[in-house]
């Protein structure tokens, strides 16, 4: 079952990359989310999969009474999800602002920082 999940991770990464390579800001945002999900799944799967047994020690015991899911990747992913969401929101609003200011969501027309006819370096001392 691990290998099936590995292929699913690959699909997420491929879709995310494809969207990120787009020139439309909104599609890049969608790609970012998908890519983030793919990476989260990647960490999750790399920590090995265990069915249904949450990493929780039963009440009254000091140790779990059987094999449990790996808690470490879960802790890593949990914060990654929330931070990913915060970043997603930020980029969304940024894209919206850019759309308002530049009247475009196509990265080809967003050339304020690197204009096409940037000045040549001066040839003097």
């Amino acid at each position: 079952m691990d290998f099936v999940l590995a292929i699913v991770v690959g699909l997420f990464i491929a879709t995310g990359s494809y969207f990120l390579l787009s020139r439309s800001l909104i599609r890049m945002l969608l790609g970012l989310t998908v890519f983030g999900n793919g990476v989260n799944l990647l960490i999750f799967t790399a920590g090995r999969l265990t069915r249904e047994v949450a990493p929780i020690v039963p009440t009254g015991l000091d140790q779990p009474d059987g094999p449990i899911a790996n808690p470490l990747p879960q802790a890593l992913i949990l914060t990654a999800i929330v931070i990913g969401f915060a970043m997603f929101s930020f980029l969304l609003v940024l894209a919206y602002r850019a759309y308002q200011s530049l009247d475009a969501d196509n990265t080809d027309t967003m050339r304020v920082a690197e204009p096409e006819d940037s000045p040549r370096p001066p040839l003097s001392y």
């Binding site: 949450a54 929780i56 949990l78 929330v82 915060a86 609003v93 919206y96």
Partner: protein
């Protein structure tokens, strides 16, 4: 969004969600849950409330600026870490206090305060974002 049914039910849903979020946050140390999830549930509640009743009412209801709540969260999370100074141990070392209330034992601890801080940060930040996006007549 502004249907009568939604507007009627929304306060109920919102209050249940808010109570549930606190419950999820507090039980997080021993059961599934925790500050991150609790905060997200509470923020969703605020988002729903904002959609049904308008941003102004929500802001009036929570009284404080959501981002201040988030700031307070970071503050008490950091403060809970500083508590360990009193026991002379490194930053963020946990301290446990078991209060015997006769019928039951109430465990209080710095990780709990820390988790509440996390809850407040997530709740505050995401509520602030949601309210800001919902508000101001379609022009953010």
């Amino acid at each position: 969004m502004n249907t009568v049914i939604f507007r009627t039910i929304a306060p109920l849903i919102v209050s249940i969600m808010l109570v549930f979020s606190v419950y999820v946050c507090l039980r997080g140390h021993n059961e599934p849950g925790g500050g991150f999830i609790g905060g997200l549930i509470a923020a969703s509640a605020i988002a729903i409330f904002g959609m049904s009743s308008g941003v102004e009412r929500v802001r009036a209801a929570i009284r404080v600026d959501p981002l201040s709540i988030a700031g307070f969260g970071v503050f008490i999370a950091g403060l809970s870490g500083l508590m360990s100074l009193f026991t002379g141990s490194p930053f963020l070392t946990s301290i446990w206090l078991y209060l015997d209330l006769g019928e039951t034992v109430l465990p209080l601890s710095t990780p709990m305060i820390f988790d509440i801080g996390v809850y407040l940060v997530v709740f505050g930040t995401i509520s602030a974002i949601a309210l800001a996006l919902e508000g101001e007549g379609g022009d953010i």
